[in-house]
């Protein structure tokens, strides 16, 4: 009999945690160049009349997702680290699990990985160093990797390779982004690659492999290229 009650309590507990009142908010990140709303890794995209670009790698971390209501934080995702990779389209979709009836009108997140996490040793999941987003000769995550080919690069093979990151002063590259979402569900975010790439002096900066001032500047430009798919009415 006692065992029966115990088992029953266990069941109640398990059910409670599984079916706790929560709602799911889906997030989608779209990558755009001009009219192209999805970017494939081997196509060539025109930037303007003369210039074109081919992207072979675009991978970056979104971390520390927070929802805000009128600039007040009301929900923080725990263990919030998402590696987005354009060669794996499923990585651009993920879901937040919030308590039911959570009201928000802004989303806040980091582009990159914070310094505490960068100092925390070997981590798993999307942060696993075998994901190719960890520097080896100087510890720290690569926040954002962009590689490809463009006639803008004044190199023989026109290749560029930008590994942006660094968490130490004065080259801390992580960027914070806040976007107005209204009460949109799902939350649709655009990373406007054309806007970003036009701010990268690819003729001079085609190879960045360690923390530096340029790494910070190009990371800032990337952060400015994020927006909500359909802007709020008011």
């Amino acid at each position: 009999m006692k065992h029966g009650i115990f088992l029953f309590l266990c069941c109640v507990l398990i059910f409670n945690t599984i079916f706790a009142q929560s709602s799911i908010v889906k997030i989608q990140i779209k990558h755009a160049i001009g009219d192209s709303k999805t970017i494939c890794t081997d196509s060539i995209y025109r930037l303007n009349q003369h210039d074109s670009i081919k992207i072979t790698t675009l991978r970056y971390y979104i971390s520390g997702i927070e929802l805000l209501l009128n600039n007040q934080s009301i929900w923080i995702e725990t263990n919030s680290f998402h590696l987005i990779d354009i060669s794996d389209s499923s990585s651009s979709f993920f879901a937040l699990k919030l308590p039911q009836n959570t009201q928000y009108n802004q989303i806040k997140f980091n582009l990159g990985i914070d310094s505490i996490t960068s100092n925390a040793g070997a981590l798993g999941g999307d942060l696993d160093p075998s994901k190719g987003m960890y520097w080896s000769w100087q510890s720290g995550y690569i926040n954002l990797k962009l590689e490809g080919k463009s006639n803008l690069c004044k190199t023989n093979n026109q290749l560029f390779q930008l590994h942006l990151g660094g968490y130490l002063y004065p080259y801390s590259a992580m960027q914070q982004i806040v976007l107005n979402t209204c009460d949109q569900m799902p939350i649709c975010i655009v990373f406007d690659l054309e806007k970003w790439i036009q701010k990268i002096p690819l003729d001079l900066q085609h190879h960045i492999m360690s923390p530096s001032n340029n790494s910070v500047l190009i990371s800032k430009a990337a952060a400015q290229a994020f927006r909500i798919c359909t802007p709020c009415e008011k």
Partner: protein, 343 residues
């Protein structure tokens, strides 16, 4: 009946852990608390043994020829005696002297300039090839995943049937954390189990006055970054800590090395420029080069007589720990390699 099934299920789920013997990391008497966070990587004997295998296995290198032990040999306190490396994996490895590996649980930063911020991620540096930064660790993990032999070990050690990069690194850390050297003559004197000779005692006095501000007992390093006045090598142009922090005051500073097992860890300094301890002492008395970042303690020249130098060296030799250098638990894991099913 159902109850029995549930109990059996719970037993099955937990048994994976139950059969693993956990390892108690012991802090030697009167030593400070380690800085490594063992809670995030709880040691167990299986993972340590796995880490030891990885440390000695050339599978970690691109062409399967070099293991960690190629450069970190146990009998020389896990440093390498031959400075000029023909077979280095990374260009920087050729320009710096491999430090002795011991008492790593007490260190916050690694490498001579502190470029590595955590023991777990240290192994990535030698594993990765310079031209493919961040690329080849994936293939190391892939190679491990394909080996049936390692699959079994990762399952036992971490309950990981898929072999992750995280657990590969944590296993190597677990082995390196066991490399504790605390049984030198110096330690037994401190434990009142033996006595210094008169000469060693004189050397110890001189050491405490002149050296221990940086080579601080009981670890014989403060693990801070200091400029000890080495003339800058024009060939290597190694500016040390400033490469990482970009602070001007860090120019030409290097991590203070521990002096434990110093008898065996020659050549000395970040570039291995000195072969003998007498050359090191001559540096401290006559070779100090003044510069803006030279440590305050070294601005006033040290003066030791020839006898005093011999006394200091006699003391430094009491830091040799034979139980560490010849501990079979740290050596080549013959038994395990031999029982490997597909090697």
């Amino acid at each position: 009946m159902r109850k029995v099934i549930i109990i059996a299920l719970i037993l099955c789920l937990t048994s994976g852990y139950a059969f693993i013997k956990s390892y108690e990391f012991t802090v030697p008497e009167n030593w400070p608390k380690p800085v490594y966070n063992f809670n995030k990587n709880p040691p167990n004997f299986t993972a340590i043994e796995l880490g030891r295998n990885l440390f000695y296995d050339p599978i970690l290198s691109k062409d399967n020829t070099i293991s960690c032990a190629s450069c970190h040999l146990q009998y020389t306190a896990f440093t390498h005696v031959d400075h000029a490396l023909s077979h280095g994996i990374n260009d920087r490895i050729g320009t710096r002297n491999a430090p002795a590996l011991m008492n790593l649980a007490w260190q916050r930063q690694f490498m001579w300039d502190g470029a590595i911020n955590h023991l777990d991620v240290q192994a990535l540096a030698p594993i990765n090839h310079p031209d493919e930064m961040g690329e080849s660790f994936d293939s190391v993990v892939f190679k491990l995943q394909k080996s049936k032999y390692y699959k079994k070990w990762f399952l036992l050690a971490f309950n990981d049937s898929n072999i992750s990069g995280e657990h590969t690194l944590k296993a190597i850390s677990q082995f390196m954390l066991t490399l504790v050297s605390s049984n030198s003559k110096y330690d037994s004197v401190k434990r009142h189990q033996s006595k210094f000779t008169a000469q060693e005692k004189r050397g110890y006095q001189l050491f405490k006055i002149n050296c221990s501000s940086c080579h601080t007992e009981p670890l014989f390093s403060s693990y801070q970054f200091e400029n000890n006045g080495l003339p800058i090598s024009n060939e290597l142009k190694d500016s040390g800590r400033i490469r990482i922090t970009h602070y001007l005051q860090d120019a030409f500073k290097f991590k203070v090395p521990s002096l434990r097992n110093i008898e065996f860890s020659y050549p000395y300094m970040h570039d291995g420029r000195f072969k003998k301890l007498s050359e090191v002492l001559n540096h401290y008395t006559q070779g100090i080069q003044s510069s803006e970042t030279l440590a305050a303690q070294l601005r006033k020249p040290m003066a030791f007589s020839a006898n005093e130098k011999v006394d200091i060296i006699a003391f430094l030799l009491t830091l040799t720990d034979k139980t560490f250098l010849f501990n079979p638990k740290f050596g080549y894991p013959k038994k395990i390699f031999n029982t490997s099913p597909n090697k």
